[in-house]
């Protein structure tokens, strides 16, 4: 269509160079590997999981290729302040959604670019509650993780430092954590509405820890509060994988191939080990050899690739002896309560969720459900806001236009609520094919009774909070969801999990999965910080295993 779409049409990571997202028209040198050169690791996906791991492995001295189906953008010159145009960041290839509560994907939770969904995420960077890593043993629901929270606390700190998370001086919930590296952002009026509600109801609140800088960092200046965060940050204040892990990875010797759609992982007929990936780039299918393959496509594309890679030896897909690949898909409930304020709010200013309460993540009484939820201030842009108005209230015509005119006086709260794992919620393959001729994903999702009880509790509580903050004309959005996890869970037992604590598949020792798919449970916080922490841990573990001579199984 025009220059703003160039990155979608021709790959940029080639000929020994890669785009430098931090400089206008900038390039940086990039190492390249030959296709018949079996690299130590091919990583499929360059978002929170794959981008982070590519950096860690390259810095540890491994030869690494990261492949991404999406484009390699230069935000400074290619990102418009425009919701509609920025659809170019989303995974808009077809997916079929069914079940009692069909999910909305695309802009809601699915990225397609180098940096993955972190290019358009809302930057909310939260640690799990420690008990959630053993929710079955300690809290009586879900499944235990094979990870220890104290080890994760260490990796959370590593990620918070790497992304220069801006956050409050002291965090009100959970065990002590180090000071956030950058100060918290100024709170906007929408954030103060949350604060007023919490204070009236006697619960704690705080500034949300965010992956957007509150002071200069390198070539990026602080966040200017333009408010288009979920449409992509045009000033590079947002600490996405695109501007953090990826440039670090390239500098350390990783090659990143953009516009490279991996369609199948090849395994050796005799040994059963992965030998490389078939990928589509510049109009043709190609093959890259590798000693290890890491799948990091997020909770729909990861199981889709494993299932699409079925062969004679693995007829039900790779890493699937447990039968669990694609199962236990978890989203998070994302219901909202909105109201009209006498004051002008102008919630389009600043990051959308500047304040948060995790009260119901850490408070275990007065609940009639398992799990927890956080809730945060909101700031939807016009297209997102009309989607809520029309979707939840069924408004159109003059009645809708009248409601939309109240935009600058609206405030709202939305949860990130824990959804429990259910095997019936799953990703399978549909008959329909995509533009590469690959079967598309069918995504089946239905709330369980516990999920519904949590939502009911949250809507009731947030309604009280909005009333206490002085809102009128309060209404709720009953059906939204956010984030995707859980379709290749980690565990201690090959019969009940797909990968072990190191993200290494039980069935194929040189096949790894490193993204939100490995979550056994999701907790009541946004997953990106945990995905990155797991990737940092996996990078360290691979380095340790290699040093002990436990890798290299696939060396041809």
């Amino acid at each position: 269509m025009n220059a703003l779409h160039d990155a979608l049409h021709a790959p940029r990571g080639k000929n020994g160079r890669a785009p430098d997202p931090l400089r206008v028209a900038g390039w940086m040198p990039m190492r390249e590997y030959a296709e018949d050169d079996a690299v130590d690791f091919v990583i499929v996906g360059t978002g929170a999981g794959g981008g982070t791991l590519a950096c860690k492995l390259a810095e540890a001295g491994f030869s690494v290729i990261g492949m991404d189906a999406g484009a390699w953008w230069r935000p400074l010159e290619e990102f418009a302040s425009d919701e509609a145009h920025q659809e170019k960041l989303f995974w808009t290839d077809e997916r079929l959604c069914d079940g009692d509560n069909p999910l909305k994907l695309g802009s809601n939770n699915s990225g397609k670019s180098v940096g993955g969904s972190t290019v358009h995420f809302a930057m909310v960077s939260l640690r799990f509650r420690p008990e959630w890593f053993k929710s079955r043993s300690l809290l009586g629901y879900g499944a235990d993780w094979p990870l220890d929270w104290r080890e994760m606390w260490h990796y959370y700190t590593e990620v918070e430092q790497a992304l220069k998370i801006s956050g409050p001086i002291t965090y009100p919930w959970g065990p002590p954590r180090p000071r956030y590296p950058y100060r918290a952002h100024e709170i906007n009026a929408a954030g103060w509405v949350l604060a007023k509600g919490c204070e009236a109801l006697g619960i704690k609140w705080t500034e949300t820890p965010l992956a957007t800088i509150s002071a200069p960092r390198g070539q990026a200046h602080p966040c200017v509060y333009r408010g288009f965060c979920v449409a992509g940050c045009a000033t590079n204040a947002k600490q996405s994988a695109l501007v953090t892990w990826i440039p670090r990875a390239v500098k350390a010797g990783a090659e990143i191939r953009d516009l490279a759609m991996v369609g199948r992982i090849e395994t050796d007929a005799a040994s059963g080990l992965a030998t490389g990936v078939h990928y589509h780039r510049e109009g043709q299918w190609r093959f890259q050899r590798a000693r290890n393959v890491v799948v990091a496509g997020y909770a729909i594309e990861t199981p889709r690739l494993l299932l699409n890679s079925a062969n004679a030896r693995f007829p039900h897909g790779l890493a699937n002896s447990s039968g669990l690949v694609g199962k236990n898909l978890m989203t998070q409930t994302n219901q909202g309560v909105y109201g009209l304020m006498e004051d002008e709010i102008r919630w389009y200013k600043g990051p959308p969720s500047l304040t948060i309460t995790e009260h119901w993540n850490y408070h275990d009484t007065d609940k009639d459900f398992f799990g927890g939820y956080a809730y945060m201030a909101q700031g939807p842009l016009p297209q997102a806001w009309v989607s809520s108005q029309a979707g939840a209230r069924g408004l159109w015509g003059a009645a809708l236009l009248h409601e939309m005119e109240k935009y600058n006086h609206q405030a709202g709260l939305k949860i990130v609520g824990e959804v429990l794992p259910q095997e019936r919620n799953r990703v399978t393959l549909a008959d329909e094919k995509d533009q590469y001729g690959l079967p598309i994903a069918r995504v089946t999702f239905s709330y369980g009774d516990n999920d519904k009880a949590l939502v009911k509790h949250a809507i009731g509580f947030m309604t009280q909070a909005m009333e206490a903050a002085g809102a009128r004309e309060i209404w709720c959005e009953p059906d939204d969801t956010a984030h995707l996890n859980g379709t290749a869970r980690m565990g201690d037992d090959p019969r009940t999990s797909v990968v072990n604590a190191d993200c290494r598949s039980w069935d194929i020792p040189n096949l790894w999965i490193c993204d939100g798919s490995v979550f056994p449970t999701v907790g009541g916080v946004n997953p990106s910080l945990t995905i990155q922490a797991i990737a940092c841990r996996t990078g360290d573990r691979i380095r340790q295993l290699a040093a002990r001579g436990e890798l290299g199984l696939a060396r041809p």
Binding site: S81, W192, A234, P382
Partner: protein
């Protein structure tokens, strides 16, 4: 209905630090859109335009946002959303089938094509569609309420609220890069934001809005 933000025009900021080159280019293309179909047939186009007029009834005192053309381009370019409820055909087929089915319903119930009906009769048909009460054979296996929610309101309203005219109506700041915002607290307006008309003080708002750059 009096304007809430009299005199506010987000385009006045076009050459200000609020708009980067990418934003200028994207909005210029949007404003240059020709109000003609490239995908839909003449009769589909008539029906689509009539639907758009009911979903977003636009005031007559300003030139209308070409909603049908914006929907037409989305469908023509097959710009999908990244998800599709299993009961719904793909984007292009859903629109083709839905428009034909609505027209057929109009003919069966009222003896005329949809775009020839009065506004109130059109509204009644759209309400019946929203409630899933249109079940003629032309719908096939596509539930009419799903077409209403996932295509009609989803696509038409997304088109309207990405247009500067709609931003003016609701007092949205529009493009904001590299200049973002400074005044974050309750009732604090940056000088480059829309001023809201207070009853009896509409002229103050108009004056403030005309100073925006």
């Amino acid at each position: 209905m009096p304007e809430r933000y009299p005199g506010y025009d987000v385009l006045a900021k076009r050459d200000s630090p609020s708009w980067n080159d990418a934003s200028r280019q994207v909005i210029a293309e949007r404003l240059a859109l020709l109000d003609v179909p490239t995908f839909f047939s003449e009769s589909e186009w008539q029906t689509l335009r009539a639907i758009c007029d009911r979903i977003v009834p636009q005031p007559e005192h300003r030139s209308a946002v070409p909603l049908a053309a914006m929907v037409d381009r989305k469908v023509a370019q097959d710009r999908r959303d990244g998800y599709r409820q299993a009961g719904l055909p793909p984007l292009q087929e859903a629109w083709r089938r839905g428009l034909a089915a609505l027209d057929a319903e109009a003919g069966a119930r009222h003896g005329a094509r949809f775009h020839l009906l009065t506004a109130s009769v059109q509204d009644a048909l759209l309400k019946a569609m929203q409630a899933g009460q249109l079940r003629g054979a032309e719908w096939g296996d596509m539930p009419s309420q799903l077409f209403f929610k996932e295509r009609i309101t989803h696509d038409i309203l997304a088109a309207y609220y990405c247009h500067p005219v709609a931003w003016n109506e609701i007092g949205f700041g529009g493009p904001a890069s590299p200049r973002g915002y400074v005044r974050m607290y309750f009732n604090r307006r940056d000088p480059w934001e829309a001023a809201e008309a207070r009853p009896g003080h509409e002229d103050d708002a108009r004056e403030a809005n005309e100073r925006i750059a």
